[in-house]
Amino acid sequence: MNKLLTCAAALALCAGAASAEIKVGMITTLSGGGASLGIDARDGFMLALEQSGRDDIEVIIEDDQQKPDIAVQLSDKMIQSERVDVMTGIIWSNLAMAVVPGAVNQGVFYLSVNAGPSQLAGPGCHENYFNVAWQNDNLHEAAGAWANQTGYSNSFMLAPNYPAGHDALTGYKRLYEGESAGEIFTELGQTDYAAEIAQIRASGADSVYFFLPGGMGISFLKQYADSGVDIPVIGPAFSFDQAILQAVGDAALGVVNTSQWSKDIDNPTNAAFVESFEEKYGRLPSLYASQGFDTANLLISALETAEPSDADAFRAALKAADFDSTRGEFSFGANHHPVQTIYAREVVKEGDIYTNKIIGTAIENHADAYVGECSM
């Protein structure tokens, strides 16, 4: 009897090893201040894999600690010793720039769940690199378009003094047609915005655009609400995801933000995603979770028609993007970045939970500004 059981166990092991035909390497941020983004993207990705019922996809998950050097080490390990077929998971653009060019040049496919630096959308685009989330400027551009629609003509702009902060203001101004009431670059990681809020108060602006991801946004919104300045605020969805909203509380109510995803986008895929995510993890999904979920479904859809070993066919299958996205229609532009509709959402309170509700469309079927510089 014992012998039989051992055999059965060994067989299961063999079967398990033999059936894992596709190896996916996920490098994402699971510790440190930015961990909530990586955790959401990972959970969304794994949920889609689980729902697909495929047991031939093995996912190796590693934590990059938000450090480029660690991400590069992990990627070398995954490509050279684990021999992964597909990589994904990186949240931060500086890490993506350190990992993606090397990975795709070694023949690995890279599907981005979040980071979309302009270099990889323009001159540095690559046939094996697909971005399922956005090009970094997209949400900022949409915010500029929304400011025009709302009739704002004198915006005060605020972003941290680092590359993504400069890109944010460039993105906002690309479509925004009004005047600038002032621009401030704050220190990265700054937590006190009293001085900036005083300048906003004195500026005579009719709207405030800010890009302050993570804890910076929490501090800014709380202090802004407490200051008595009542100029309307808009921002990209990064400062309004599910995790951050609960920490900001009432101070975020009524603030408009732009996002390519929202839990109330009306399509069956999205409704099922929100319900199953909440059931499995006990919290509402964020846009990062939706991006992880879409990335996994894109991968699964491509695997149904081709194997990564047949690179050309697999690439064509990815490019076709034949999957049901939580965003509704989804297609790739020439540079393998999404062409998508971006919504304006407003922060509302549903019961005890702070969340977002769509109030309008900021920009429709929007590609990015760098597609012309890509030679594909």
Partner: protein
């Protein structure tokens, strides 16, 4: 640039300064009396903020939250002193830096283990929220005024404690000659635990007060710790008065520099360059201030040790 804006910025600088003082006071006492470099001081700041957020979440009372921050941070301080720090008084500064750096990692990951990676919610109580109108028509958040008041009250309280009480005499004596006061029959290890707990409690209070208007998250203490070190170096290590003056100077320089340097640069160059250059120079300004003070007075403004 109106007078109202300038006055508002000076208030902001003061508020920032007095909160830095709460951190700097503990650091300077610990360094002055025990000769110990405590990098883990920022962890007590974080512990205070998390304790306050947890208690406020359960009870809804801001006052209870502040009391919890004081008590939990003081207990954490006393425990750390008895378990780890006590073994390090005789070691050189490098060992102390290593051990207290390890404590930062333990506190950060421990807090993450208990509370998770997502920032916690802690908000101003209804009675202190919203702006008030000051004479001259300046709108200023009431909570920040309250912070200034608390900071000044703590300064006064510390001055009284150190200059007018028996404990204060022991602390000052300990700064001057620790062997002598031990020989005079004062329980020096109990005194050290007490000072350490007091410093930690002040840091915890600062964490709770500031966390209320910022974000309560893992790693929130380390950026403040660096500024607090700058304050005590400027003020002179070991001096409470120096820590206060240093903190106010750093608060004002950092706040006013961030506003006026870009404006100043706009006189010479185009707005975009002025903004970028001004912002960069502003973040350097407190370190430039520190260098100037150290050139002028190598032991800091009120430093006694040569």
């Amino acid at each position: 640039m109106s007078a109202i804006l300038i006055i508002e910025q000076i208030l902001n600088g003061l508020q920032f300064g007095v909160m830095l003082f709460l951190m700097a006071a503990g650091l300077t006492l610990i360094f002055g009396v025990m000769g110990l470099i405590n990098l883990a001081h920022g962890s007590f700041y974080m512990v205070g903020a998390f304790a306050a957020a947890a208690v406020a979440g359960v009870t809804g009372s801001f006052l209870l939250a502040l009391i919890a921050a004081l008590i939990v941070a003081a207990l954490a301080g006393a425990m750390v002193e008895m378990v780890v720090i006590r073994r390090l008084y005789a070691s050189d500064h490098l060992d102390q830096v290593l051990a207290t750096f390890a404590l930062i990692l333990i506190f950060s990951e421990g807090t993450r283990w208990i509370f998770g990676s997502f920032p916690l919610y802690l908000n101003t109580p209804a009675t202190l929220s919203g702006p008030v109108t000051l004479p001259g028509g300046i709108q200023y958040p009431l909570y920040r005024l309250a912070l200034i008041a608390v900071g000044l009250a703590v300064w006064g309280g510390l001055w009284w404690l150190i200059e007018r009480t028996r404990i204060g005499i022991q602390i000052r004596a300990g700064e001057n000659d620790r062997e002598m006061i031990a020989a005079l029959g004062i329980d020096i290890s109990r005194l050290y635990t007490l000072i350490f707990a007091l410093g930690a409690a002040l840091a915890g209070l600062a964490g709770a007060l500031v966390g209320t208007i910022q974000s309560v998250q893992v790693g929130m203490g380390e950026p403040v710790l660096i500024l607090a070190f700058v304050c005590i170096v400027i003020g002179g290590i070991g001096s409470i008065k120096g820590a206060f003056i240093g903190a106010i100077l750093v608060g004002l320089t950092s706040t006013l520099g961030g506003i006026f340097l870009p404006e100043l640069f706009k006189v010479f160059t185009d707005p975009a360059t002025a903004q970028a250059a001004g912002a960069s120079l502003a973040s350097m300004s407190i370190y430039i201030l520190m260098s100037l003070v150290l050139i002028w007075r190598p032991t800091g403004l009120f430093g006694a040790r040569a």
